[in-house]
């Protein structure tokens, strides 16, 4: 065992010297390799963290949301539907929800106006999300004035700003009283944006939804499960798109690495020939080349992953921000909570370290079993 380790150490010594003999080429390879791993790992860590957070946070959204459809489009739902649906077993609470959008030309942003059920607001009062406060530069006690659909201007006194801890879900919210919401948007009394049904037992959700579509055929229920699946799908999709965009880069790298690793240059051929001539065995040559591949790919994996971790969780994924932000004026400032999927990490490891190492060994095998005489000639 001891002899084995000593031998490996000598091999590593030799490999490192041989790598350092061509510093530019090998360092360049390492940098490009690390960069690829960095990009892949960043996307992976970022989407996984966001997906985990969405799943965790949205697990408490309403169990069933009922929307009314008119001619295939979403429409206001009359409050009388609450009675019309009758008593459905398993539903322990139901009520209307009022929310809508408002486009603010001053900052060219869309707000989500909402009537909260957990607090009582005065008519001229509003509670705003942290991103709005930032963008409009308002703080508690300031006034926000919006022009409503009927042409009148309404002023809202900002009575509170929603906690920035929850910005990921509340960045663009404006909470207003029900009365003001109705006059502002011209929504008649007794109508709601949608209805919320609380169901305690998740096993009964499907049955409740089934009964709803039978009793109220012009409505469409949205289950919490579907909300969660939507976000899962969105992040998978985004991750997929980034990977597709990266494919070209990755392929270019694969060709480059394959060429570097497998196509032996004349110089390397000569090196192997000399090694064999001075008495190295074929297996030693292969081991030496294995170490060469392992050193480069392991370094690239570790360096790439670590910089990606720093990028996503300490630099708030600065490189992705323009992509995610897109057109939005109101963008939540949030720190991602690191959730790491061990399986994803293992997959990344396997796909970065393994192929490269194999690619270095295989052609050496062919060269190493040839006669030193033919190689050196």
């Amino acid at each position: 065992m001891k002899a084995f380790i000593r031998k490996q150490r000598y091999l590593i010594d030799f490999t490192l010297s041989s790598l350092l003999r061509r510093p530019g080429k090998n360092l360049g390879l390492l940098v490009v390799y690390s960069l690829i791993v960095f990009l892949l790992a960043s996307v992976m860590l970022f989407t996984h963290a966001l997906r985990s957070e969405a799943r965790l946070v949205l697990a408490d959204s309403p169990e069933i949301i009922l929307q009314r459809m008119v001619a295939g489009r979403h429409d206001l739902i009359p409050g009388s539907y609450l009675e019309k649906m009758g008593r459905i077993r398993g539903v322990i609470g139901k009520h209307g929800r009022l929310w809508g959008y408002f486009y603010d030309p001053a900052v060219q942003a869309n707000y989500t106006l909402m009537v909260p059920r957990d607090r009582q607001l005065a008519e001229d009062e509003a509670v705003i999300g942290a991103a709005i406060a930032r963008t409009r530069g308002v703080s508690r006690g300031d006034f926000l004035t919006f022009r409503s659909t009927d042409g009148n201007a309404y002023s809202f006194r900002v009575s509170a700003i929603l906690a920035s801890d929850s910005e990921l879900v509340s960045a663009d919210l404006i909470l207003v009283s029900e009365q003001r919401f109705r006059t502002f948007f011209g929504i008649p009394e007794g109508y709601y944006t949608d209805l919320v049904l609380n169901v305690r037992n998740p096993k009964e959700l499907r049955k409740v939804a089934e009964k709803l579509t039978l009793r109220l055929p012009d409505t469409r229920p949205i289950l919490r499960d579907e909300i969660l699946r939507t976000y899962d799908a969105i992040f998978n999709w985004r991750q997929g798109i980034v990977f597709v965009l990266l494919t070209g880069t990755i392929l270019a790298f694969v060709i480059f690495a394959w060429d570097k690793a497998s196509g032996l240059s004349a110089e390397e051929r000569r090196e192997i020939g000399i090694l064999k001539a001075i008495g190295w065995e074929t297996s030693d040559v292969i081991r030496m080349k294995f170490w060469e591949g392992a050193i480069i790919s392991l370094s690239a994996f570790l360096l790439g992953y670590l910089t990606a971790y720093g990028h996503v969780f300490y630099a708030n994924a600065g490189l992705f921000e323009p992509v995610l932000k897109g057109w939005s004026v109101l963008y939540p400032e949030f720190r991602l909570t690191p959730f790491i999927d061990g399986l994803q990490l293992a997959t990344l490891f396997f796909f970065t370290v393994f192929p490269y190492t194999v690619a270095t060994i295989v052609p050496i095998w062919r060269a190493a079993i040839t006669d030193p005489d033919t190689v050196m000639r």
Binding site: R117, L168, L175, R229, W237, L302, L303, W327, V329, F339
Partner: protein, 98 residues
């Protein structure tokens, strides 16, 4: 010091950092429980359904809701319009950073 010693030291440091990153992740997600619980409370209290990540347009704000503005008129799970949705560049006003 031999080169192999240096290499083992280097590899050891990096692997140590990798382990540290896992510990750090566990630690930070533990620290964030409070904040996540707060966010969950808000989601429950205000009956929120979506992340306010894509606020750029009415039809992307509530992706799971398929309301009056969404492109997902058929079903909340219907995927976004691709590729047209991704090929339109943001307005210059936003890109110039104002």
């Amino acid at each position: 010091m031999r080169k192999s010693d240096l290499f083992i030291l280097y590899l050891g440091t990096l692997s140590g950092l990798l382990l540290l990153s896992l510990v750090d992740a566990g630690n930070r997600s533990h620290l964030a429980t409070q904040q996540l619980a707060e966010t969950r409370r808000e989601v429950r209290a205000l009956e929120l359904t979506d992340l306010s990540l894509f606020t750029e347009a009415r039809y992307t704000r509530h992706l799971s809701q398929s309301d009056r503005h969404t492109p997902f008129q058929d079903h909340p799970l219907a995927l976004e319009h691709f590729p047209s949705g991704s090929l339109v560049a943001p307005p210059t006003l936003l890109r110039s950073g104002r």
